[in-house]
Amino acid sequence: MKKIVLPFFIDLNKMKTDRTTPIAFQTVSKVAIPKWQKLVLNNGVDLYYINSGNSGVLKLDIVFNAGVDKQKQKSIAKAVSSMLLSGTNSRNSAQIASGLDYWGAYLQAHCYPDDAVLTLFSLSKNTKNCLPFISDILTNSAFPETELETYKRNAVQKLLENEKKNRFLARRLFYSSVFGNESKYGSFSLSSDYINISRENLLSFYKDNYFGGIKYIIASGNTNKQTLDRLFCFFSTLHHHKTMVSPGLKGLGDKPKRLVLDKPESNQTAIRIGYKTINRAHVDFLGLQLLNLVLGGYFGSRLTKVIREEKGLTYGIYSSLESFTDCGCFSIETEINSAATQICEEEIYKEIQRLRSVLISKEELDRAKRYFSGLIIRSLDGPFSISERLKTIIDWDYSNNYYGSILERIAHYTSEDLMVLAVKYLNPKLFTTVIVGKKT
């Protein structure tokens, strides 16, 4: 047997730097709140902006009340969003694509349960050349039949591929079970839903929710006076769609289920466990966010430590807490060595039980709090990250100091507080469990 060769031969006495004493660090208790400002356009639309100096780039988020909640027929909101660039009465899709590309711009449309966003990424020197396309898209979209056929064909193909992924199937089963397949949070399109989309439905949704008006706009990056003046004039000519829905908390109490889908050919099993819970509207939300972090919200969490770093059963396991307009969703997800499915499930429940019955040590709690502060600081770093946070502040009507105050509020939570929250909100009796993979 060969002798083991050690990788280093160093006389420690010769080392000058003291490596053994841990380096002191500071707890971050303040975050520099970046400055954003607001202009009210002539049509009443709020234009928020975050100036990042001379980066030479501009990101524009145009927000609409055009989420899944606005659709009267399944799949329409998503289809309209996906087809926003598919042609107007004066330009076809190729002209729009090549026109925007010519100016080096990226225009992306996204549809969410509670709203929809059209985002422009452009060099600030080219923004003015992109605006006519945006105006055309927002006032003249035609949704040509041939484009709709292309959309349906490709969407059905994409669905066929997704349905071969355990992770996708688990997500679909989970959300449609917890929220109901008709709900905006649990709505998944089937092939038949795509087939049933008609041009008339698209046009009518578009007319009400895009042509109907902009909810608000966020500009981030190089927002100098000239740019702002231009945006002001340009967007003042479009309609304003006032916010009707204010966020709140309603309709909790989903029925817990256990759903198992056997996939004999797969070699990993997707698991999703969770339930419908509180959102930002509830005073306990922040504490629950901290508790979620301890359980599975970061690499130092209990689930990662036990299931990945101690047992090596998965590449990743996470828990998350989402906040929608009407409610929240807590869930744990992983893809796991199929043979260990049962062990994994037991370990998850063991950790939850432990949070409900044993106090979190001060050391563990402090680490989670400090990590949380780091998350907040990183999430407010740079104009584009800030624009995302700003969206939350606008949607929830928070004060400018909201994120600053979080750091202070987080500091006050005790282990006892978190145990109370665990008993209240991490109750396995409420959870739906979805398992997709090879039966063992």
């Binding site: 083991i4 990788p7 490596r19 990993q268 680490r367």
Partner: protein, 411 residues
């Protein structure tokens, strides 16, 4: 423009400092000049497995992640064919802690049996999650050995097979560390809200005493020229037929790299590209097409990948790609097309230059390429490419003789 200062410590560690006072953060980005191309062909996946072990603690810092989380920091890493990159971000006041952590694992990593055994399992689950338990996940496992016969790019960074990972021993790990993880084989970027003098002082304090490793200069490797078309057909339980075509493309430092990248965008980037317009929209051959460069330092690839519409014959679909490429070779490209892809490239570069972590990674990568100033020359390098440059080279690059094709059929 990204301003930077470079200095080299006595032990050979290259350090690059970049100050950005718009951020509240500091970044330590450490690039080791070792990737999967440096692996033994019988022990592939090792560079990546080793990356996982770099988080198992070091002599003076038993719990790497825990210490960092306590100081509000975050970290991660990735392994490529060419190099392995580690990064730490911290609030600016806590940056010295990052120096302590990063230098300690360069100085004396805690290599132990338990960590190896766990991380082998974790990486095997990663292998399954990304390559085996997904439709088409094994494309790279099949494509690379078809294209590369000699070059170590013939296996993916995750490794040629699960068994290579499960067979890794503690001895392998130790000798890998000894061979590659030293100051003279690394590039450290200190970026963010930190003055140059502080960066210098902390770098010297924490890194300068770490001894050099014996590090041989790496020879640039080349794959022999491909002389005729290659193809394989796979038949698997997937929902759609997929065509993948891989063309041998210039190395990253070849003068033709920039024209290659623009050509790639003209062929297949975005909805105004040739592929999308013609084969997704007009002719309904594919539901999705993608075209990109692998961008490795040595012999690279241009990949064209398309999901075939149900009912369209896969051979016919592949023929349509060939026709489209021939059309570019024979008729050339337009001024507007070239202008368009240059503008798009500039937008991407500019947006990437806003984030301090992105800038730090770019600086490290350009230093690895041997010319840090590349970080500021990119846009100009793309802009000097002419229509003639592209048409002159397109024929050779897009020739079938230069191409490997996978027909991935739905069973």
């Amino acid at each position: 423009m990204i301003r930077y200062t470079k200095f080299v410590l006595k032990n050979g560690l290259t350090v690059i400092h970049h100050e950005d006072n718009l951020t509240q953060l500091c970044v330590l980005n450490t690039l080791y000049n070792v990737g999967s191309k440096d692996e033994d062909p019988n022990k592939t996946g090792f560079a990546h497995l080793f990356e996982h072990l770099m988080f198992s603690g070091s002599k003076n810092v038993p719990d790497f992640d825990g210490v960092l989380q306590n100081a509000s920091g975050e970290n991660n890493a990735f392994t490529t064919n060419d190099y392995t990159n580690y990064y730490i971000t911290l609030p600016k006041n806590n940056i010295e802690l990052g120096f302590w952590l990063e230098s300690d694992r360069m100085f004396a990593l805690n290599i132990n049996k338990k960590a190896l055994s766990i991380q082998k399992k974790v990486v095997i689950e990663e292998y399954k999650e990304r390559y085996l338990n997904q439709p088409y996940g094994d494309i790279w496992l099949n494509l690379l050995p078809l294209v590369y016969k000699k070059h170590p790019y013939r296996w993916p960074t995750i490794g040629r097979s699960v068994s290579h990972i499960s067979k890794a021993t503690l001895n392998n790990v130790r000798s890998f560390y000894k061979k590659h993880y030293g100051p003279n084989n690394a590039i450290l970027v200190v970026a963010g809200n930190i003055p140059l003098e502080t960066a210098k002082r902390l770098t010297k304090k924490w890194f300068e005493e770490i001894p050099r490793i014996k590090n041989k200069d790496k020879a640039s490797l080349s794959e022999p020229k491909q002389l005729k078309p290659r193809s394989i057909t796979l038949s698997k339980n997937v929902p759609l037929d997929v065509v993948v075509k891989a063309f041998r493309f210039p190395k990253r430092l070849n003068k033709d790299y920039y024209l290659s990248d623009l050509l790639c965008d003209i062929i297949g980037s975005g909805e105004s590209s040739r592929l999308f317009n013609s084969l997704v929209k007009e002719r309904a051959i594919f539901s999705e097409v993608d075209c990109y460069l692998t961008g490795d330092i040595e012999d690279g690839l241009l990949i064209v990948e398309g999901r075939v519409i149900k009912g369209v014959d896969i051979k016919h679909a592949e023929g349509e790609i060939r026709n489209l490429l021939n059309n570019i070779v024979e008729l050339g490209i337009t001024d507007d097309e070239l202008k368009k892809v240059k503008n798009k490239t500039e937008t991407v570069i500019r947006f990437n230059n806003v984030d301090v972590l992105n800038k730090a990674m770019k600086l490290a990568y350009c230093a690895l390429l041997g010319n840090i100033e590349l970080v500021n020359l990119e846009t100009a390098n793309y802009n000097t490419v002419s229509k003639k440059d592209i048409t002159k080279k397109a024929g050779l690059l897009l020739s079938e003789k230069n191409c490997s094709t996978i027909f991935y059929r739905s069973k």
